[in-house]
């Protein structure tokens, strides 16, 4: 299984994307902590931006991994990323302020062991496997934490498990109307898993272009953020949820437009190449 199907030509090197991805994700996650410092929920939208930064990094990691013929299809990579990420993320939320960093470290440990298991015990022998699965677990954990911050306004275990309902003017504490108790995490899980695997699945092939795939990732990310922002109306104040929603809509419209421009650019190049030769009698 060491047949490499494609090589990365040109574009930004993977390590640069990885470093930029992890730094901007952690910074955006910590910016949601302004909610606690200022006592509002206005900064929840930074969680959505963290999701997009992590997804862009993750989809490029999928490209690196799936360039080797692993034979299982691209979606499986997204599924293992979030399957291992959700476990690290939920334990990390117990560490309060340090949750994002703990999530990254814990997910890296889980991903590293899973990478060792696939590469050595299952004999995959793919050079990029260990690093890719490590990165994917971190991406999965941080993406889910970003969704949690976007929907609930925080990333602590208490914040994810408690919510408030207002009954006849009285505010009551509830555990059913929360990110974890209401199982919104399941929706966040699949919103992220689909957004991370779709871009490379849609853009792979001889016409693959890095900027087009990453733009599609951003588009998928904003689309997921849009859905998550709508879900956040249930848990955070209407004004704060509206800010997230407007940012998601603007971001989605912009990235969709850019992606269409890039698609037309690459499609025009294909038309000139005439991939199917004309046959006699047709």
């Amino acid at each position: 299984m060491t047949v490499k199907v494609e090589v990365i030509e040109g574009g930004i090197p993977h390590n640069k994307i990885m470093i930029a991805g992890i730094v901007s994700t952690l910074v955006c996650l910590y910016l949601t902590y302004l909610n606690v410092l200022t006592g509002t929920e206005m900064f929840s939208f930074f969680g959505g931006l963290a999701v997009i930064a992590a997804l862009i990094w993750g989809s490029h990691t999928i490209k690196v991994l799936c360039s080797y013929g692993i034979g299982t299809g691209v979606p499986s990579a997204g599924m293992i990323a979030f399957g291992s990420g959700v476990i690290a993320m939920l334990l990390a939320t117990k560490f309060g302020f340090y949750a994002p960093i703990v999530a990254a470290v814990l997910a890296a440990i889980i991903g590293f062991i899973l990478g060792y298991v696939s590469n050595n015990i299952l004999n995959m022998k793919i050079p990029a496997m260990v690093q890719a699965l490590t990165e994917m677990a971190v991406v999965g954990a941080l993406t889910l934490m970003g969704f949690a911050a976007l929907i609930t306004g925080g990333f602590t275990f208490a914040g994810l498990t408690t919510g408030h309902v207002t009954v006849m003017g009285m505010t009551l504490l509830t555990h059913e109307q929360s990110f974890l108790g209401g199982c919104l995490i399941a929706v966040a899980f699949l919103l992220g898993a689909i957004a991370i695997q779709h871009p490379f699945n849609a853009c792979l092939g001889p016409g693959w272009q890095q900027d087009r795939m990453l733009m599609l990732t951003a588009e998928c990310g904003f689309l997921s953020m849009l859905v998550a922002a709508i879900m956040s109306f249930a848990l955070i104040s209407t004004g704060s949820a509206l800010i997230s929603l407007i940012i998601a809509i603007i971001g989605w419209a912009y990235t969709y437009n850019e992606y269409m421009v890039l698609s037309k650019r690459d499609a025009a190049a294909w038309l000139d190449a005439k991939p199917i030769p004309e046959m006699e009698g047709h």
Binding site: M1, T2, V3, G69, I70, G71, T72, G73, P75, S76, A77, M79, I80, F82, G83, S84, G85, V86, I87, A88, L90, L91, K94, L106, I110, I113, L114, Y116, V117, S118, N120, I121, L122, N123, M124, K125, T161, H175, E176, S178, L180, G181, G182, C183, I185, A186, F189
Partner: protein
């Protein structure tokens, strides 16, 4: 055809050193569970059993992948991740329903298995409907000359240049058995985590047992889904994406997958149990 034939046959070999490292790793993880949270050791062992059931069960499921979608290879025309999500989660829902009804653990696990097996039986039947009546192709295996269960010869029905097509009887039976194992395994993981959370979360969070229910169910379900997908994808790596069923030569690779699933489940299960220990 050339792309299918060009798939490297390597990967069938065992790596004894890595297997030994895997078993040591498994024991270390169980040891950590014993020292950090002794009450979690038995649930963790059962979670490992559940993970191994998933890993072993997926080998039975006829995963066809993209070649099957084009009628060039036998099996269900999608990847392992999707099939496992369909069959396994249906089992998980069945098992969770039985658990919510307050049934015995054995009944819950068997219900989960039946849920998964039923889902796979329906999937296999509808897939064959589409193959036979939609695409107009008969079911024929490319890996064996005779169906091991019915004894029907296969070569007459196999089109030239393909690896076989459709879903032969043995693949159908394999799919149902795989669904049974995977559904039971996923339900076992869910049930063990649910018991741990129900017992320990009220004290950790300082709330009543009734209040903790939605959180315990949701967290246990989410972890079960996560572990299910991890085990299914690791098994997909083991069979390099496609397998015809229990008669496929790739089926012999299952020992590797059992060790891999045991390590992965022990690792994920330990982290999941640590939530109530930290």
């Amino acid at each position: 055809m050339s792309a299918v034939a060009a798939k490297p046959a390597a990967g069938g070999a065992m790596n004894p050193t890595a297997m030994a490292v895997g078993i040591v790793l498994l024991l270390i993880l169980l040891g950590i569970a014993y020292f950090v949270y002794p009450a979690g050791l038995i649930p963790l062992v059962l979670i490992v059993v559940g993970g191994v059931l998933i890993g072993f069960g997926v080998h039975f499921v006829p995963v066809g992948g993209a070649p099957a979608a084009m009628g060039q290879a036998p099996g269900i025309a999608t990847g392992v991740a999707m099939l496992a999500a369909g069959g396994g989660l249906a089992g998980l829902f069945g098992g969770a329903w039985a658990a919510a009804a307050g049934q015995d653990a054995l009944v819950v696990v068997i219900t989960g298995g039946i849920g998964g097996g039923l889902m796979m039986a329906i999937t296999c039947m509808m897939v064959n409907f589409v193959y036979v009546f939609g695409m107009g192709i008969p079911a024929a295996s490319g890996k064996v000359a005779k169906d091991p269960i019915t004894g029907d010869t296969q070569a007459e029905y196999k089109s030239q240049g393909t690896e076989g097509h459709g879903l032969p009887f043995v693949s159908f039976v394999g799919g149902v058995i795989g669904g049974l194992f995977a559904g039971a395994g996923g339900t076992l993981i869910y049930l063990e985590l649910l018991n741990v959370y129900q017992a320990a979360l009220p004290a950790v969070m300082g709330i009543t047992a009734a209040q903790v229910m939605p959180i315990a169910v949701s967290a246990a379900g989410m972890f079960a889904v996560g572990m299910f997908l991890v085990n299914a994808v690791l098994t997909a790596y083991n069979i390099t994406g496609t397998i015809e069923g229990p008669h496929d030569p790739k089926f012999k690779r299952w020992p590797r997958s059992v060790v891999a699933s045991a390590v992965a489940s022990a690792l994920c299960g330990l982290v999941a149990i640590l939530i109530v220990a930290i």
